[in-house]
Amino acid sequence: MSTQTDLTIPRAELLTLLRSMKLIRRFEERSAEHYARGNIGGFLHLYIGEEAVAVGVISLLREDDRIVTHYRDHGHALARGLDTAACMAELFGKATGVSGGKGGSMHFFDVSRGFMGGHAIVGGQMPLAVGLAFANRYRGQDSLVVCFLGDGAVNEGEFHESMNLASLWQLPVLFLLENNGFGMGTRVERASAQPVIHRLADRHNIRSRRVDNGQDVFDVREATQTAIDYIREGNGPYFLEIMTYRFRGHSMADPLEYRQQHEVEPWLDLDPIRLLTARLHESGLATPDEIDTIDADVEDEVNAAIRFALESPFPSPDELYTDVYA
């Protein structure tokens, strides 16, 4: 199942990976609380359980690379270093949010960090990623675009159109499929005639690979690095299918009746944060104290974010009319 701790990664960076995953986890646990209290509205799609994917992939990107993702975007945003407080403020609909309060949970943006959203139409983010990568290629830049998508998006026509364009034009884009086994309540096997999804990429002549254990941040990183190298060398797109699991419901409204406890449990055992923590312990790369410090630190950061969100003003009514046109 899992590989070993990658000892080529400097210790400080290992701790950063852990911290990043913990930050996502706590950020979301606390958002769920504030959703229940009515401070956050709309749909809230938690990434809990999938943290190794966002953190593993995004930790390997350069500053000039870009990220396009779907509505389950908090993990990607935080892994990319978007301001935690501004992310929380966005959930609270505040003017200080990453999208000025206009986007909400599904539409986080930070163009200064190459974080090109947060897109809520399933599959709709893919042509955008193709277009951004087209610009890179046109300009002869070697930066790349990572396009996250869910297993559910695979059945949309835009998936097919985007794969074809990316391959045909040999664009520097990494399609990063988060296969968490379900699109809402529908199992991959009930939605896709080809449940080994990355094989669809093969047929567009896109190099592809599956990572069986996306809960292991080292596995994720190893595969991602291969993909990134391949793309940066000018070989065109790459498709990575990463197997993972969402621990919570699709959104806060999900009655979660479509999956059985006995199939969920083995996955809960594969908690990416627990896995990484255990590895760091085993290999003596982090002491319990160090981990406690990270926890405390993350707690503070999230607390500060919540305070910031609570204290920030809502957008003023004039904001309704700004940003419609440039």
Partner: protein, 325 residues
């Protein structure tokens, strides 16, 4: 049947349809195992089985087109598009196939299809998930569009939609699902293309549909206290439109305000106003006014979102303006 919620009324309609015709199936995203994203079809999978309650892949063009094909083959399918926002991905199939198959084939094909979908905002779902796009479909010859605002109409229109040999877009509103009201016990239908006088009045006609009907009714309450008797017309169907009931009302009240949840510019209210203008011009004591959504993409933030959707107070205000001259 005593009191039903809007959701329950639609469920009754769906269950009647499933019982009436073994070739009726329900297909759409998460209508089965998940129970429908607004819980309208909860329990159906267990009750009717996966041959008839069909969870589709997320591929709106594909499964809506498949529904059209099944209907052309003579089945009586019900397709659910989770929200009308996603219908844009199936719009070609609806506009270029469902609406035109009969005409282009010189009458050889029939498309007895009901497409259920959910329109509207007010749920903090932001710009891509809060749109009211039914007016686009309501201008396509070959399809029909209905928009029930209460449980009794929901069931009555659903029955008519299922009995209609044409493709019918049956448009629901998520903020109405929990609303509860009397539904007649005896068998009844609400004909497609018939508006209702949701509240009679003499001084002004407030014309609304879907979730703006309860808003218009509240406005009428407010106005009544001020001595203005407002008649509320609930369009119920957008295509075909019951122009007669509208014109009739305006001929009596001599004033009208049209209420629409979404973007004012280019909206359905324009059609209503054009018809009143043409057919009741001489009755008008004042211009026909609109109260509609603000022309911006819907923002997430609650205080901003609330500004985008007409309120009863705003409707009352607009009506008042007709009486100050």
């Amino acid at each position: 049947m005593p009191q039903l919620t809007y959701r329950e009324a639609i469920r009754v309609g769906l269950e009647e349809a499933l019982a009436a015709n073994p070739e009726t199936v329900i297909m759409g995203e998460d209508v089965g195992a998940y129970g429908g994203s607004y819980a309208v079809t909860k329990g159906f999978l267990e009750q009717y089985g996966e041959e008839r309650i069909i969870d589709t892949p997320i591929s709106e063009s594909g499964f809506v087109g498949a529904g059209i094909g099944a209907a052309i083959a003579g089945m009586r399918p019900i397709v659910e598009i989770m929200t009308i926002n996603f219908s844009l991905l199936a719009m070609d199939q609806i506009v270029n196939l469902a609406a035109k198959a009969r005409y282009m084939s010189g009458g050889q094909m029939t498309v007895p299809l009901v497409i259920r979908t959910v329109s509207g905002g007010g749920n903090m779902l932001a710009a891509t998930h809060s749109q009211s796009l039914e007016a686009w479909y309501a201008r396509v010859p070959g399809i029909k569009v209905v928009t029930p605002s209460n449980p009794a109409d929901a069931l009555g229109l659903f029955r008519s939609a299922m009995a209609d040999p044409n493709p019918v877009m049956y448009v629901e509103h998520s903020l109405l699902y929990g609303s509860r009201a009397e539904v007649p016990d005896e068998p009844y239908t609400v004909p497609i293309g018939s508006a209702s006088v949701a509240r009679p009045g003499t001084d002004v006609s407030i014309i609304a549909y879907l979730r703006m009907t309860p808003v218009a009714l509240s406005a009428a309450d407010i106005l009544e206290a001020e001595g203005i008797s407002a008649e509320v017309i609930d369009l119920r169907s957008l295509l075909p439109l019951d122009s007669g009931t509208i014109i009739d009302s305006v001929n009596r009240t001599n004033r009208a305000v049209v209420v629409e949840e979404t973007w004012e510019f280019g909206g359905f209210a324009g059609e209503v106003i054009a018809q009143i203008n043409e057919r009741a011009f001489d009755s008008l004591d004042a211009p026909v006014l609109r109260v509609a959504g603000v022309n911006v993409p819907t923002p997430y933030s609650r205080p901003l979102e609330l500004l985008t959707i007409p309120t009863a107070e705003a409707v009352a205000d607009k009506v008042r303006s007709l009486f100050q001259a």
